[in-house]
Every structure is written in C-alpha cells, then in structure tokens.
Symmetry: C3
Subunit: 311 residues, 3 copies
C-alpha cells in the first residue's frame, strides 16, 4: 500500500479484511516492521477513538508516535501564491515537507467547514499533505471521507455476518448539531465494494453526494428500508443539498429496539444516546459498536503494515 | 492488585511500602511485565507531577503510554437514561468500554465541582470508569481522594522516620482559592493504617468528612497540635461543612520555621510559598517535599506492577 | 557536554558539526546511550519543528520522551521571596527540582515578553531551570537565544558550502508581527565562530544587541550587502533599540530571486511567503530551508548525545 487517503487505495479488499482479522490474533508479530520508524499524527480537529486506536496500532507495529495538535502550533496557509501578511504563519508546503523529514508516515485529521461545499469537496488539507509531503499519508477523517472507520466497519461486518450476502441498511438519525458526511460517504463506498445488499434510508433532502451513492437504493421510508435488515448502520449527517444545514431533527428516525428487529446495530461513535438510538439497543447484545471501535486498531494496523512493507 | 481507586485496594500496606522502596533501587527490572501493555491516562483536569510521574512509572515497567485530555475530545455524559441532545456528545459507557479495548490499565484524573457535596461524594467520574471499563482503573486524583499521593507520602514517612511511632500532624494552611479535600482525606486514611501518632489541626469550620477522620484527634490550636511533631503535613482545603467555600484565609496558620520545631515538612505540591509555608522552611533541609514528589513515581510503579502481575 | 543553553556550551564547534554529519548517516547507532533515560520537554510556547525534531532526536538516541505544555498545568512563579497569593500556583524552584526527579534531561522553550528588554535579557525562565534543576538543561528557544537552530544552521552551511570561506549575509525581512531576536542573535553568534565572511543588513533602527553583533559589519543597504553572497539568511525581528516594536514593514526588503543572485537561501521557518521571501525563491533549488529543518534533528541529537555521554 502506498498511502491510505481513500478507500480505493486498498487494492484487494477481501484479502485486506482477512489479514486484519488474522492480525488481531497476533497483533505484535510485526514489530520489526516499525523499528526506528515514526508515525506523526496531525490533528486539526479533536479525536478520541481515532487518536488512541491509531497510536495503538502504530505501537503494535513497533513504531514511535509523535502527535501534534496543529492549531496549538501555527495556523497553516493552504492557498498558492498568497502574500502571508495576515493570520497564517506557515504554508503547508513547508509544514508537510518539514514533517516528512521527521516522519515515515503522516496521519492527518481535518474536518470540513460545512459552509462551502465546493471548497470542502477539494479536500484541501489532506490533498495538500498528499501533494507536498514526501512520505505516505493516512486519512484519519477528512472533509468528505473517513476510510479508516469504513475499513473497521467492513472488518466488523465480515467477522459477524451470519449470511453470505447480508442486508445492510444505513439509516440517517437525528442529532442536535450539523455533522459532516464523511462517515456515511465512506461507509457507502466501502459497502459498494463488498458482497452485501445495501440500502440507504433518510428523510427527503438528506441525499448524499450522488457521485458516491450512485445506484445504491435510497428509501425515504425507514420502516420499509429496515425490513429484514441484518446490519443497521445509524448515522447522522447534515444536508448535502442544503449544504451543512440541519433540515430535520425528526425524532421518529431514532433507532429503537422495535425498528431494529433481529439486526445488529452499528455506529461509528461517539453516539448520542436516546437521540440517534435508544438505550435499549445500545445496551443489548445486538449492538456491535464495541467491536467496531476495537476494529479501528486493526484497520489502522493493517493499513500501516501495508505502508511499512512498501517503504 | 485488581485496581487502585482507593487506599483499601492495597491489601498489605507495609509490604507494599517495603516493595516500593526496593523498587526504587532497581526501577527497570520489571520491564518484561509491561511489554506490549498500554497505560491510557485520561485527564479531566490539569496535572504536572501526576502526569509525569505516572507516565515515568509506566515506562519504567516497560509499558506504552497514551495520554488524552478528555475535554479536548468530547464532553462526556455520566447520567443514565439521558436524552443526549445538549452539550455532551459521548456517554461514559461507550467511552470507558472503547478505551478499555486500547488499554491494559486506565488512569483517570477528575476533580470535584466543589459546588455540590452529595454529587462530589458519588465520585461519578472515577466510579463510572470503574463500572464500565473492562480493564483496571487507577485513580490519579478524584473528587474526594488522591490515593497515589497518600501512598507516596506513606513511603516517604517510612523511609525518613527516625522513630518507630512518629508523631504526624496534618495542618490546614491558608490559600487564596478553594481547593478540594482529596489530598487531606487520603492522607488521613493512609496514616490511620500506619503506626503513627496522627493529629489534625485546622480552624473551626474546616472539619473534614467525619466518616474519614473518625476518631483521629482534631485540635483547633495549631501551636498545641504541632508540639513535638516529627512530620508536619501542611495542606489547604476548602470547607467541607460549608461546602467548597473558603471560610478563612488566616495567615497565622502559615507554617514557619519556628512552628516546625525539629519536624520534617511535607506537602503534596504545588505549594504557594509564603502563604502555605514560608521560604525558610521549604529551602531548609527539614523540607522533604522533593522526596515525596520523587516517591510519586514509585507509588504509581508499585501499584501498576501489582496490577500487571494480576492481569 | 554538560548542558546546551547557549552556543558557548559547545567546546569544539567544528568537531561537533563533523560528528553531527556522521550521525545523520547512522542515526540509530547510539540507542544504548538513551536506554532508560527520559527527556522531559517543557513548552511555555507553541512549537512545531522544535517539538518534533527534538522528540525525534531523543528517540533516535533510545530515550523516552515526556512533553508538558506548562501553561496547561500551573502558572509558575519565578521571583524570589514572593507571597504567592495571586495567580501563580507553583514556584519554579519546586517545579524544576521535581521534574528533575522524573527526567535525565529537561528541554525548555520560553519566548520573551518583548515588553521589557532588561527583564527579557535576564532569561528568567531558562536560567531558573538551570539554577534549580538537578539535571542538564537544553534550550529549545529562550527569550534571547535559539542555539539549537543556530547549530542546525551551522551544520547546513558546513554541508552545503562550496567554498572554504563563504560569504554569509543575514538580512532582516518584513513581517506583520513583532518577533523575538532569539534566532538572529544565535545565528550571528554561531557564524562568528565559523570560518565565514558574515555581514548583517537591516533598516536603520533594527540594530541587534551590540554585545552580540560586536564588530560584525552592518550595512543598511541591502543590495550592497547581498552582493556576491553565498548564503542569504533571511529573518524578521522586532526592534532591539525601540524594544519589541515593529518600526518598519518595508516590503522592498523581501528577498527575491533577483536579490538572491546565485546564493543559497536560508530561513529557520515558519516563513511568511511573499512577505519575507517570494515564492520563486522558496520553490527553487536555491532554497535550503528543508535541509536546515532536517538538521534540527541532528543538532538536537548531537547535543543530547554529548549530554548523555557525560551523565
């Protein structure tokens, strides 16, 4: 693997998932790979799972890890040709090249503005690091994608599916704040590559980028969509068409035990209890959110193992 | 040892102190114990000694360490059954279980509100982690207790006492701000388990929780209390009865060289010079605050060694 | 080496530079030196290059690293004899001694106020750590000096000079904000010890401390100064005479490709593009800012190697 900024960087998904599951049984056996190698994690935004699981994965591989909250250092400039006489004190050209000299892999987290759809779509932060860094880049959630989360989700479904072609339903759920589309985007893209029967359900107006959803069925009727589901993946996102806005907080979309049927419940976390999903679901054996979170480590580890082998 | 959230988690105190003193002479000999084990330190509040000494202790034991300032990630929800549509974005149920999957030990620091005595007494943060985490918890100072500090103090007194049953006086001292009762609570509890002659002295109204002080003598006359002391432990705390309030800033309670007599001076640090204690004391050989701070490492190390042996 | 708080702590500069260049080829060969040794990095101010390169250097040497943003812990008191009843909660006397017990080397970054020249000149923070710590101190940029940067610059010039006695010109350049004199001070001091032909150029009123510049030629005419330069070191600083003030933002002082001639361009970074220097310079092969940034690691590493050998 040369980098992992998008799902298409995985050349053989089923093989990668299989290897990740094997890795879990013996997580420390590749520590020679990371010896004297350094992961630098750059956070433009806050993180709990991603920070801890990626650091853990790197250490499992024998790497050293250095973390930087970028905004505690300098405000970076991303535009070309700017006269930098305002608030930005370092251009990403310099930052990315300099950090590349201290790192063997750079992992970056940078959320979207949710103000300007075209600008968010350019993925300026992660793309700039890809362009200017001289070492491989790992995406720890960017403006429009969260490929490590999607890989953890794919591993989890592979491990826990009791069918050859399970029905997977991704359902929008309400939330008080405007959230990015990164997680649903990457989940949809990932599921499209797997042997699953995928349906998306959300209120009208919550259509994701059609270049991502493509011909995946979208059903505005949640009850219909959820029927006979094997996996229900709940997630809130703000509107893509009315970009970045919360156009509904309709609580009837909350996932309940009744709606879930016999399906397994998935969510990337953090999750708002009794808003996205009721306690009865999360506290039941049907919830597999902990397995997903655990697989974050192995998703990051299989990716970085692939990158280290390719250095 | 299964965890260390309270002093009573130590089954054999004198043995533990003896082992800690031995550990000091050879701090790196147990590095096999921590190999491929991870300590996650969670800070809800700021820290200097505790952060550095606990991290150092873990590394002495061969562990990896990951630190998270929790408030830089998400605001956690601690109440059961809440509809999480306000400011908290993750429930401690999920956070504790998720972090348990990345950690072999979780250490937590969370101060009291000092607004609501009953609520602080529930020790919601540390108890929630104890309840929901699936790995052992270490208390790096909670609302009402600081058992690592108390263990460091016990080690220090054991090392430096020239008597079989020294007289130990814990004295309240003035401070401009309202401070928790955690340190004095744990010091009293710890001393009650040791072979020392313990006296507490403070202005009227500064009585600690009587369930902790029990039958330990309390003397409102500092001069009388300090007479013939071998160890004077100075500490400010806010009122327990008039909860969380500063009811006196009486500077005559400051520890001076004259008041100290031939006793050794102890304080958990950070200490306000010339408010809690005069320079002449801190800068003299009678001050053993540095030995206490140094023993923070070995207190944390003996505790985590016990936990690692029990995993 | 006993410490590295100022350039004069290097006893044999040319030997140190030679060793640093050798170290680069085999950065991991001294890992036994740092085994079970800990670097504590204390940041009173933000940092990107210094934080990452110093951490990397320590890990290359086999050390453990613990970082603390001091202001996230306590406000430190530096004055002697203060009655600490205001905002400072810990005296540097205690902090430095305590941290010394957890560390084998302490590295400190603390910028000047730029308000009070006499006070900044006392170098209170770094000098206090030197005075009270019981382990060696490394300066990661103090009020008036940045000796690690200067050592990296010296290594870079040694590596890339095509002449036995190159002409080095340090040129002031404009910047929207008031910056410290630490970098230019240390660069001048370092060049004075090397076999280079050093000239300083800046607008009138930007004279640095004459005790540092000594008899180094100063030319107010930038064009004249830059003539036939082999290395041009650009840097902004605020006025030393009109202390801490920006007395000119004259854009004609920006370094351009034309002004540069055939010289190599140096800057410590972060650099304001098209303010300090135009894109055409930074994006050309004449820019050696990346080599400088890379040498930050080896400057820190050769210094800490010397200190570890001397422990």
């Amino acid at each position: 693997m040369k980098k992992y900024t998008q799902i298409s960087d995985i050349s053989n998904l089923s093989e990668t998932i299989k290897e990740a599951i094997l890795l879990k049984m013996n997580p420390y056996e590749h520590q020679h790979l990371g010896k004297n190698k350094t992961l630098v994690m750059l956070f433009f935004n806050s993180s709990l799972r991603t920070r801890l699981s990626t650091e853990k994965a790197a250490k499992n591989l024998g790497m050293d890890v250095m973390s930087l909250n970028v905004n505690d250092a300098w405000n970076l400039e991303f535009e070309d040709g700017t006269v930098m006489d305002a608030s930005t004190s370092e251009h990403v050209k310099e930052a990315a090249k300099v950090i590349s000299q201290y790192a063997d892999i750079i992992a970056v987290r940078a959320f979207p503005s949710l103000k300007d759809r075209e600008k968010d779509a350019t993925e300026m932060v992660i793309k700039s690091f890809e362009k200017y860094a001289t070492v491989p880049i790992v995406n720890m959630e960017s403006a429009t994608a969260h490929p490590l989360q999607a890989l953890a989700d794919a591993i989890t479904i592979s491990e826990l599916s009791e069918k050859s072609r399970p029905k997977v339903v991704m359902s929008w759920a309400p939330h008080p704040r405007a959230l990015p589309q990164a997680v649903p985007n990457s989940f949809v893209e990932m599921m499209q590559k797997m042997d699953v029967d995928l349906t998306i359900t959300h209120p009208e107006g919550y259509e994701l980028n059609p270049e991502i959803t493509k011909d995946t069925p979208i059903n505005y009727n949640q009850d219909e969509a959820l029927k006979d589901a094997d996996f229900v993946y709940a997630k809130n996102w703000s509107s893509y068409t009315d970009y970045g806005n919360v156009i509904s907080r309709d609580r009837t979309w909350m996932i309940t035990k009744e709606k879930l049927g016999h399906a397994k419940f998935m969510h990337c976390l953090p999750v708002r209890r009794n808003v996205i999903v009721e306690d009865a679901v999360l506290d039941s054996d049907q919830s597999i959110v902990m397995q997903e979170a655990n697989n974050r480590t192995y998703a990051a580890q299989i990716v970085m193992k692939g990158i280290l082998e390719n250095l």
